[in-house]
Assembly symmetry: C2
Homo-oligomer: 305 residues x 2
């Protein structure tokens, strides 16, 4: 830290502190928004906690709060949107890890839900988490006029024209030679839809968006979403399982197309840098209030796990 | 028909006609509310249509329209609520039939989704249908003030304190000796939560309910929901697979507790009759407008499949 020029160090320290506070707040919120483990059916509720708590970088909540800062969104609405997104994300991981999908045994450094519990429980955990996500967002203190479009956006992002659709394309792409455009389309649904929803929900928690604002945030979210995936592929090809907290080299072993397999390693790194610049560019008009979103784009490209 | 006294015959014919019109309308609506099969990912969308269309008695939509008649609810809102409920119900069947749950090969006289497609597709079909249910209901023409509480109720009914919770208890009860009270509690969540939601959503589509109205409809829905399950158990023990459109005798073979295994066959039939009377009693105060709900209670107890 002492080697950095002072203003930059302060900025970085402030960002790190902000990140930690969002991550801590969302952990507490998630705990409160999940049914208590003491309540029947206890095994299901315990497994829901296991799947959601104490794990992940909370990228989606960070994007919600980063975008919420643009319009000084109320904390309760941002928190519920962030928790709902994390529940949808967590359920998708639980189902994705199941034997009939990716058949993975390790997630966030812990045994996956179907390994720790059993397959039937993993199936129900995912199903119940999706319902819980909509419940949590539906109970925001914001007006129904604010909340309803947020629920609509979340449902669209989670469904067959969003995340589930991306997973279906991913499934169909095993062993198939995809073009770069097809790979992008798959990721824009599989992970991009929820990342985009995170940015938009954070902003919508603060105010009704006009077309220009929506377009700017869309462009930011698209760039960040793709950058996230490109970096994921780079890390999958270069990092080890202990660092990642999940099985490394899995995509190559599964014969799944990745940015690295299509573009090569160094061009993938350069692409991630370009997408980061695109993200910065997209939100220039928001000025200082977009600082957190800019820093999040940097973080996503620079992360090591 | 000619053997019946004329007024009763007319009433029954009118009810049959009403039922057929609701069933036909919901079939058309579901088709329109699902993403088209021509849209990518096509296999997923095709499997979603396969899971939802051309099947089932549409009991939940009938309850929605029956309860909606109490307050002259707008057709669009009732239709969307009914379609959302059918999507949730259909997704739960798809997941419930999977090898890690009940491992069933036949449903509504057709191969189950994981048999017709594959397990991964079945998993995604269920996940995408749940999201689609919330999307469809969120897009009603009713005001956000009407729609938001309906979404909240649906999310609660679908989740771990509703349908998913009931399935978790069901899973845990295989080979276990349940008391009648425990069996009732399981069914009140597993199938009862969604049937109750059907009645309440239909009524809420028409007007904001006061406490007395909610209590009366709750009592009706609870009685009808239990009657539905008791009759299911009786049919499972007495009918054949061809009539049921699903594997008969499955619960006994799976060593699952049923009303028939706990009470015996004839006492189960008597219980269903008593629950039908309870249902009638509960909605007496609504007078003539509750005619469809009364007829539905009769239908549920008298059905042969």
């Amino acid at each position: 830290m002492s080697a950095l020029p002072q203003p930059l160090a302060q900025t970085q320290a402030a960002f790190d502190g902000w990140m930690k506070s969002v991550q801590a707040a969302i952990e507490v919120a998630l705990q409160g928004f999940l049914p208590p483990v003491t309540q029947a059916p206890q095994r299901l509720h315990e497994a829901m906690h296991y799947a959601v708590l104490d794990g992940g970088k909370r990228v989606r909540p960070l994007l919600v709060f980063g975008a919420g800062a643009l319009f000084d969104a109320p904390v309760d609405t941002m928190t519920r949107a962030a928790a709902a997104l994390e529940m949808i994300h967590a359920y998708s991981l639980v189902h994705d890890d199941m034997p009939c999908m990716d058949d993975d045994a390790l997630r966030r450094g812990k045994p996956t839900v179907h390994v720790q519990y059993d397959e039937a429980t993993a199936l129900l955990v995912g199903d119940a988490l999706q319902a819980q996500a909509f419940l949590v967002l539906s109970e925001t203190a914001a007006s129904p006029v604010t909340t309803l479009p947020m629920l609509r956006l979340l449902a669209h992002a989670a469904g067959s024209n969003g995340m589930c659709g991306g997973q279906a394309i991913d499934l169909a792409s095993v062993g198939v030679s995809l073009s770069l455009a097809q790979l992008e389309q798959m990721h824009q649904l599989k992970t991009g839809a929820l990342l985009r929803a995170s940015v938009l929900l954070g902003a919508m928690a603060g105010q009704h968006l006009n077309a220009d604002q929506t377009a700017a945030l869309d462009a930011y979210a698209t760039a960040v979403g793709l950058a996230f995936q490109v970096v994921d592929d780079v890390l999958d090809a270069t990092a080890d399982s202990a660092t990642l907290g999940k099985t490394a080299g899995k995509d190559a072993a599964d014969n799944k197309p990745t940015y690295v397999s299509i573009l090569g390693l160094e061009p993938s790194r350069l692409l991630a840098e370009k997408l980061r610049d695109d993200a910065h560019q997209a939100i220039q008009s928001f000025g200082d209030k977009a600082q957190r979103l800019r820093q999040l784009a940097d973080l996503i490209v620079q992360r090591k796990a």
